[in-house]
């Protein structure tokens, strides 16, 4: 897998799974990121059989695998 940002869940202020700034770790191994770690906005995520692509309206492509 070609991970652009494998640490998306912990690299910003917001949790990539729930978008909260106070989350202490709800990320599930088999879930793609759903929230932008920078701004907490919901990501546009395309899951394909071999990977996924996550994009923030303001911060662009954030993660793929």
């Amino acid at each position: 897998m070609d991970t652009v940002d494998g640490d998306i869940g912990s690299s910003g202020a917001h949790c990539a799974s729930c978008g909260s700034v106070s989350c202490i770790g709800c990320t599930r191994t088999l879930d793609p990121p759903r929230f932008c770690p920078e701004c907490g906005r919901r990501l546009t995520v395309a899951v394909t059989p071999g990977g996924y692509r996550a994009r923030c309206r303001d911060h662009g492509d954030l993660a793929s695998a």
Binding site: C18, L30, V45, V47, P49
Partner: protein, 399 residues
């Protein structure tokens, strides 16, 4: 996971003197329970073993006379392998009531039934959510419903290049089937046209059979899909008729049944799956099995609830792995000739027991990712099949 010193185990030990329980392949007997803190006894030497307690909603199955249990299994074997007939709901209920110690026997029979009725091949499929989220329906397990506040953001229909790229990814994993899935109640005319353009494109580009899952269909839509080269159409019953109103209120079980019947009428193979673990009872799972027998689908994808944040079922726990193996076996025994496919939730439900599912009746897999969640890698699944000496091949209706 909790320690067997937990109260429930002690209750079980008290109820079942002299009996045993298989824990990770080790027979644990109540006499090996460590004394509770404060117990006066100091022997035998404490042994700590951990195991999963029964989950909420999993029935406690009473002990049964071993000869009666063996007789039920033997009768099922005779019916399925010698008489080659379907089991009745009553026979299936008798098997479902067997205690946990008999799950391996059910699994062994299910594997033999699968080989006898379907052969050794395992079918590999990839699925793509071509239009994600924003669905007006309220299926309580689904993160793509617009009626629930879930993390899944609605996205429009992927363009043809993206769909073709995903199909090629799937083909590279050795798959023979590719399913285009849309989160919609049913297709409007524009969606119909997009799907009917994509199906021959994917087929021509990859050589794979193309399946579609686009919700409820009218008769005309079913006819057009059938004529348009859709090999298999997916429309799940999900659960028994009697339980369906607990999990979906925006359409009825009968509407789903009607679409399933239209699929068959118009020459497509019917893929009609189940979702286990939403709070339904054993009796309702048996009810679903008999309803699936009546519909006679080619394929049954078997999903296990993976509770999704924000959905009404988001607070549920996945069913236990051993319980999942039991129901994989029972689905094979109830539907001996179908393509029984591992679908969503298997990683979180079965964990290390995924290969055991393959020898309990499963003969098809969704490889790679699912619609909104990730799966384990296709390479891991292909290695598993190789280790099990199970050849990959295309399957079709064998009943």
């Amino acid at each position: 996971m909790r320690c067997i010193q937990a109260a429930w185990f002690r209750r079980w030990a008290d109820r079942s003197p002299g009996s045993g329980l298989l824990v990770f392949g080790i027979l644990v007997r109540p006499t090996t329970v460590a004394p509770m803190s404060g117990d006066a006894t100091t022997s035998p030497t404490p042994t700590t073993v951990t195991l999963s307690p029964p989950r909420r909603g999993e029935p406690e199955r009473p002990e049964i006379d071993p000869s009666a249990a063996r007789a039920r299994i033997h009768a099922a074997e005779t019916a399925l392998l010698d008489e080659r007939r379907l089991l009745t709901g009553e026979e299936l209920a008798g098997l479902a009531a067997l205690p946990d110690d008999y799950v391996t026997s059910l699994a062994a029979l299910a594997h033999q039934v699968r080989l006898t009725w379907c052969g050794p091949e395992v079918e590999v499929e990839g699925i793509l959510s071509a239009k994600t989220g924003g669905c007006p329906e309220d299926c309580h397990f689904c993160s793509q419903s617009s009626q629930f506040d879930t993390p899944v953001k609605a996205t429009p229909f992927l363009d043809a290049d993206e769909v073709l790229r995903a199909a090629e990814e799937t083909k590279a994993s050795g798959a023979s089937e590719f399913c285009i899935v849309l989160a919609i109640r049913g297709p409007d005319e524009r969606t119909m046209q997009r799907i009917l353009e994509l199906v021959p494109m994917v087929q021509e580009k990859t050589g794979m059979n193309v399946a579609v899952s686009a919700g409820l269909l009218t008769e005309d839509q079913a006819r057009r899909f059938g004529e348009g080269g859709v090999h298999r159409y997916n429309h799940n019953l999900e659960t028994a008729r009697s339980f369906f109103p607990n999990v979906v209120t925006t359409h009825t079980w009968e509407e789903r049944q009607e679409t399933c019947e239209l699929v068959r009428t118009h020459g497509m193979e019917l893929c009609c799956g189940a979702l286990i673990g939403m709070g339904e009872t054993d009796e309702q799972r048996i009810e679903l099995l008999t309803q699936l027998q009546d519909l006679d689908p080619t394929e049954v994808p078997l999903n296990f609830l993976n509770p999704r944040p924000g959905t009404p079922l988001g607070g549920e726990r996945p069913i236990g792995a051993w319980e999942a193996i039991r129901w994989i076996a029972l689905f094979r025994l109830g539907l001996p000739g179908v393509i029984l496919r591992y679908a969503g939730g298997r990683e979180v439900t079965l964990r290390e027991l995924q290969s055991m599912g393959m020898t309990s009746g499963i003969n098809a897999l969704i490889v790679g990712n699912y619609l909104t969640t990730l799966g384990r890698s296709a390479d891991e699944d292909l290695q598993m099949l190789s280790d099990l000496r199970m050849p990959v091949g295309a399957l079709t209706g064998v009943l």
